[in-house]
């Protein structure tokens, strides 16, 4: 069909245009590079690590960084550099699956609430608010303690809790779009409800959801690391940044190298995601930090 053909051409070139715009911004370039590096390292780390992450050597226990063990060794004499390289695999896998799930279910419910509107929407949103007012860690711990700490529990748990704030965003974006004249115009032409949602609403809400998803991803990574730090995430001896920080914390005064590696790795990934999300928002033209007014 000519119409859809032109449409897809336009949207294809739009995606490329946005990507170009993204990398042309310093924050987008730096952020995206950091994220891509992390993802590549997570994939190839098992093949390039200098030492086995499980290998314990009591002679090396808490030894300083050296030319062989670049970041020294931890309290069990394991190579910190190797463990840091591999410590993001679990986190990236879990959050990489949970983030899209959170955006999809939160986005779906949010759009639905936004479309329903009226009193039902108000009541449901107060339920969401009530839910959001509870500390997240408490809610998550309850579920994890009940169901265990495997990936099969962590992914749905994170996806569920991080989808709730997405409801708010998707609902607000829906409210913004359905008040606009092009939706009225489609309605006045006589288009059906599904057609209006699919063709008029979704393309405009998806931009917001994409940026929201990127932000959620970084928060989810922090949450995952926090769970590991508390001992509810990854089980030893699998390396994980949160767990490594937790383990090395006690020796920080005389062996700080155990903490420095995972801290730098975790923060560089989170900063990278945040920078990318900011640049993406600017490239999509939905930047929340507006220019300074007069």
């Amino acid at each position: 069909m000519a119409g859809t053909l032109h449409g897809s051409k336009a949207s294809g070139s739009r995606a490329i245009g946005i990507l170009k715009d993204l990398v042309s911004r310093p924050s987008g370039m730096i952020g995206l590079s950091l994220v891509v590096c992390h993802v590549i390292l997570a994939i190839i780390s098992p093949f390039i690590v200098p030492f086995d992450y499980k290998l314990q050597n009591s002679a090396l226990m808490l030894s300083q960084p050296s030319s062989i063990h670049w970041l020294g060794a931890d309290h069990l004499g394991r190579d910190v550099f190797s463990r840091t390289l591999m410590g993001g695999r679990e986190a990236l896998l879990v959050t990489g699956v949970a983030t899209p799930l959170a955006v999809i279910w939160g986005g779906f419910i949010g759009i639905l609430f936004g479309l329903v509107g009226g009193r039902l929407d108000e009541v449901l949103m107060r339920v969401v608010d009530a839910f959001l007012s509870l500390p997240w860690i408490l809610k998550m711990l309850v579920l994890i303690v009940t169901f265990g700490t495997g990936i099969e529990v962590l992914i749905p748990t994170l996806a569920f809790f991080y989808g709730i704030p997405v409801i708010r965003i998707a609902r607000a974006a829906t409210h913004d779009v359905i008040a606009r004249d092009f939706v009225w115009a489609a309605k006045a032409r006589g288009h059906g409800r599904i057609s209006i949602i699919w063709r008029e609403l979704l393309p405009n809400v998806l931009d917001t959801l994409m940026v929201e998803g990127a932000m959620r991803w970084s928060w989810m990574l922090l949450a995952f690391s926090s769970l590991s730090f508390l001992g509810f995430g990854v089980s030893p001896p699998t390396p994980d940044w949160g767990l490594m920080i937790s383990d090395a914390r006690g020796f920080m005064s005389f062996a700080p190298w155990g903490v420095i590696g995972p801290v730098i790795a975790l923060s560089s990934l989170i900063i990278g995601i945040n920078l990318t999300a900011d640049a993406l928002a600017k490239a999509l033209g939905i930047d929340r930090a507006q220019k300074a007014p007069m």
Partner: protein
């Protein structure tokens, strides 16, 4: 001039560095002088750099922009050499800005009194004890009613005009020597606008201030300014007194702007200024206006004209300034398909006693006071019959229910009472969801702002495909062909199919919106303020297009606008609405000449003509009423010719004056 002017801008260029490292100049070598007690108007189409120049005059540049060359002096102080703190001390105090949308410039959570006190604390030398007296004094100065009560109100409790007055009062708090006004009346109702302009005029005169007035509205400029600077593509192209520029413009662009404005005293269609101004950074050889100019020759295309002084005193950037009288003038009459002598008599649409209410039924009130029928309906007693091929103009201020009536016809709001009949026989189903497909196709709507009515994520091809697929089931080559032919009918080429709305200019977007409406081959097109978001030159082109499409297809238009001159240019019949009630209806000629309904008189009196010799006639106050009165004449509270209690208690009778000219008023027909 012997003394240094109070504000002077000298050879100022402002620009930014693009992503590719090129320097893009937004303002090019502009000079400007304003003396105390003098008011200078800056006019030009959007994107001409007029706002950038006004902000530069207070040493402010939007993010990314920076001065490239030239200087700006305010009372002999070099504004571009000052640091942040020094600028801050001048801005808001000695040099105040009144922005376009003051509703947004007031803090929503602060009471009016607090906001003004804040301004006084920052910009005046008064003791804290004197603040509250001074606040009341300032509010009185801007002629706000009951200032003592007003101080405890929040901005959202005020009307747009009142908010604008508060913004002016805030600007006056620092006893400024100069005012910068950036489209201060755009978006306000005609009567409010006229009152605000009178206020500004008086203030400038009484306080001997220098004023820089930025506007696209030559009517407003003619009311307030002594001098006018016409901007085009970042350059000043004509500088002269208001009288010189508006009555005998010596630049083809200024001439074109003036002829593109619809006037009340004309029955002709305004003339469109074709083409578009060059974008900042676009390579310009020769005169920037050459490709849109009827007088341009080879020299204009290759050589850039300098600003030269004329013997009459103006400065003009044009080689042909002595040939302006050879410019074409508007001559085309609008197509009046429906002349009295060839009436078809077929009714296209019939509104029968339509009432529309936004108020929801409240069971509590129904139980407590069943006798009281709730608040009066937003729109009531509308009975209008529209003939096939006719253009009916609906005019009135904001809140007059014009758009509400259109929405009811389109099926987006259900009337509380009454019927809308198609072809005089089929009653239209109230809700658009329940209407049969054929009725949906027959009625199409064009919205005010194409930025909002075109989905930003759809390319033009998708936008046009929507009606073509929905109503005619077209696909493949047939769809493509139909889309291209629609684009050609709105004078756009096939290469527009791939573009997104963000890649189009305002006028092009509105053409696409028109093409989308006409793709349905409608019988009735509802036009909701379709030109008010556009520049005047573009407005003329859109009006021309609408008129042409109507001639080709015999379409019936219902044309809603707050601009009386625009309505006059395009309409066969005009209905004047106030608070959702009909005041007057008749042929365009009859409505725009005496006798008038008192409200029509107020509206017409407030229209600003781009002519310094025509002063607006301000009759009633610019009070904004939020809801219609429960009984009696809708205009009772503002009417200057009110007869007495009869106006408060009884609906005015419909007085038939001539064939089809009806005025709803208690005043007897021969005294109107």
């Amino acid at each position: 001039m012997t003394t240094q002017p109070f504000i002077s801008v000298n050879g100022l260029s402002v620009g930014y560095t693009s992503r590719t490292g090129k320097i893009i100049r937004v303002l090019r070598n502009v000079s400007l002088e304003i003396n105390r007690g003098e008011s200078v108007g800056l006019v030009g189409e959007s994107g001409s750099g007029k706002s950038t120049l006004a902000l530069a005059a207070m040493g402010y540049f939007k993010r990314g922009l920076r001065p490239l060359s030239g200087d700006v002096h305010f009372d002999s102080v070099d504004m571009l050499a000052l640091d942040r703190d020094e600028l801050q001390a001048i801005r808001g105090g000695r040099l105040a800005l009144i922005p376009q949308n003051s509703g947004q410039s007031l803090t929503p959570t602060m009471r009016i009194g607090q906001q003004l006190t804040e301004a006084l604390r920052l910009h005046s030398n008064l003791d804290a004890g004197q603040f509250s007296d001074r606040v009341v004094e300032l509010l009185t100065q801007v002629r706000l009613p009951d200032p003592a009560k007003l101080v405890s109100r929040y901005p959202h409790e005020l009307s747009g005009g009142q908010q604008q007055r508060v913004a002016i009062a805030m600007a006056l708090a620092g006893e400024p020597d100069a005012l910068l006004l950036d489209e201060p009346t755009t978006g306000l109702d005609v009567t409010t606008q006229a009152h605000i302009l009178e206020l500004l005029r008086d203030l400038a005169r009484d306080r001997n201030m220098a004023m820089l007035y930025v506007s696209h509205d030559l009517g407003a400029i003619s009311r307030v300014c002594d001098q006018v600077v016409v901007m085009y593509a970042g350059e000043a192209v004509l500088t002269g007194t208001t009288r010189q520029v508006l009555l005998a413009p010596r630049h083809p662009y200024a001439h074109g702007l003036l002829t593109s404005i619809p006037r009340l005293d004309q029955t002709r269609m305004p003339m469109a200024l074709d083409g578009r101004p060059p974008m900042p950074g676009e390579a310009i050889t020769g005169c920037a206006f050459a490709d849109r100019c009827a007088l341009a020759d080879n020299k204009c295309l290759t050589e850039a004209p300098e600003m030269v002084g004329l013997s009459s005193g103006e400065l003009v950037r044009c080689f042909k300034s002595d040939m302006i009288d050879r410019m074409p003038v508007p001559s085309r009459q609008p197509s009046r398909l429906n002349r009295p002598d060839d009436k078809t008599g077929d009714t296209a649409l019939d509104l029968r006693d339509v009432a529309i209410s936004y108020a929801r039924d409240n069971w509590l009130r129904t139980v407590l006071s069943p006798a009281d029928g709730g608040p009066p309906a937003t729109v009531d007693n509308i009975g209008i019959s529209i003939e096939k091929g006719e253009t009916l103009g609906l005019v009135g201020e904001s809140g007059s229910g014009k758009s509400t009536i259109l929405k009811a016809i389109a099926g987006l709001i259900s009337p509380k009472r009454g019927h809308i009949m198609l072809h005089g026989q089929t009653a239209l189903t109230p809700r658009v969801e329940d209407r049969p497909a054929v009725n949906l196709r027959q009625i199409q709507m064009i919205f005010q702002n194409p930025d909002d009515s075109l989905n930003p994520r759809h390319a033009v091809a998708q936008i046009l495909a929507q009606p073509l697929q929905l109503y005619f089931g077209l696909s493949g080559d047939a769809l493509h062909e139909a889309s291209v032919s629609m684009l050609e009918r709105v004078r756009l080429g096939a290469h527009y199919l791939d573009r997104l709305p963000s890649q189009l200019s305002g006028g092009e977007k509105q053409r696409v919106a028109i093409a989308r409406a006409f793709a349905a081959e409608p019988e009735i097109v509802l036009c909701d303020e379709v030109t008010s978001a556009l520049d005047v030159s573009v407005q003329a082109a859109v009006l021309d297009l609408l008129d042409e499409l109507k001639t080709q297809q015999g379409t019936t238009y219902i044309f809603v606008s707050h601009d009386l001159a625009v309505v006059k240019a395009i309409s066969d019949r005009v209905a004047v609405l106030y608070q959702g009630r009909l005041c007057e209806i008749g042929s365009a000629e009859a409505v725009y000449t005496a006798p008038f309904h008192p409200y029509t008189d107020v509206l017409l009196g407030a229209v600003l003509e781009p002519d310094p010799d025509v002063a607006p006639k301000l009759i009633a106050d610019d009070v904004v009423e939020l809801s219609p009165p429960a009984r009696g004449c809708p205009f009772q509270r503002r009417c200057s010719r009110k007869l007495g209690t009869i106006c408060d208690s009884e609906m005015p009778p419909a007085r038939q004056l001539r064939a089809g000219h009806v005025i709803n008023c208690h005043i007897p027909a021969d005294e109107l």
